[in-house]
């Protein structure tokens, strides 16, 4: 099944695509890793080295222009921060990338009834947060 991007933005001359969670569950928008790597403006061999590595969450979807590896937003941000720390990317590009996430989220939430937004965000937050009442020495 083809997965169309939720949103496509352009930062400088780089296209960045945002996708819904591949399983359709509640989650922040995911990003096309290839787009993020191009945004780093690292030389091609460095981009190629990073392209061989991905977090365990990474997935592949079929978009209208072929297979696309997508990664969670936190992984994309860490990648861009690395490029910022190497002086390859202006920090403003990371802000734009995060603005894109918020816009893509708005697209996602447009499909969710407003009365269900609380449950939607709770489901997103439930995964990483440990209930501190469940803490033992």
């Amino acid at each position: 099944m083809t997965s169309l991007p939720l949103l496509v933005i352009t930062i400088g001359d780089i296209r960045v695509r945002y996708f819904a969670h591949p399983d359709g569950g509640p989650d922040w928008p995911w990003l096309a890793m290839g787009d993020v790597l191009r945004l780093t403006r690292f030389e091609h061999r460095t981009q190629a080295a990073f392209a061989t590595i991905a977090p365990e969450e990474a997935r592949e979807v079929i978009s209208d222009d072929g297979p696309v590896r997508i990664v969670p937003d936190w992984y994309a941000y860490a990648t861009i921060e690395t490029a910022i720390n190497f002086g390859r990317v202006h920090p403003g590009d990371l802000d734009l990338l995060k603005q894109g996430t918020r816009l893509a989220l708005a697209v996602l939430l447009a499909e969710v009834p407003v009365e269900d937004w609380g449950a939607w965000f709770a489901a997103v937050d439930a995964r990483p947060i440990v209930d501190l009442r469940e803490v033992a020495p």
Binding site: T46, P72, L132
Partner: protein, 144 residues
């Protein structure tokens, strides 16, 4: 990209075939000023190196924030930067065990990822951090 060897200080690879892909994260102090750069291997995130030797923990700026320990809440410690990123950077990752032990000596509580991790931390941070102050989620204790 960054070359993570020799530990604990990284330098940039200068030649083809040298080094390995690494993420580089800026560690900030409590005023949000940059303190040090920390590189961690993209293939093995537990391989961590510093540029200047100033940072002991990823996220260490939060240690001076009183809200971090509000109501006796323990600060979370992650095994590696990927776990830290997955959890919205809400916690710490140890970069330098000795420096981390000194910085965490007054922390009211630390929360490990699981029971095995809590034992690792107790050994790593002794004697500055008492083992009684290191906790783990109860569910992982049951599973252990």
């Amino acid at each position: 990209m960054a070359l993570c060897l020799p530990w604990p200080v990284f330098r940039l690879a200068q030649h083809d075939g040298e080094g390995e892909p690494a993420f580089v994260t800026l560690v900030r102090d409590e005023r949000e000023d940059g303190l040090d750069l920390v590189a961690w291997s993209a293939r093995d995130p537990r391989r961590i190196a510093r540029r200047d030797g100033a940072a002991a923990l990823l996220g260490e700026g939060m240690l001076r924030n009183p809200a971090t320990f509000a109501n006796g809440r323990p600060v979370r410690i992650f095994r590696d930067p990927l776990g830290w990123l997955r959890n919205d950077r809400n916690g710490l990752v140890i970069v330098d065990p000795i420096g981390a032990a000194l910085r965490l000596a007054d922390a009211p509580g630390l929360m490990a990822e699981d029971a095995a991790h809590a034992r690792e931390l107790a050994e790593m941070l002794a004697p500055h951090v008492a083992a009684e102050r290191i906790v783990a989620p109860r569910t992982t204790l049951r599973a252990a």
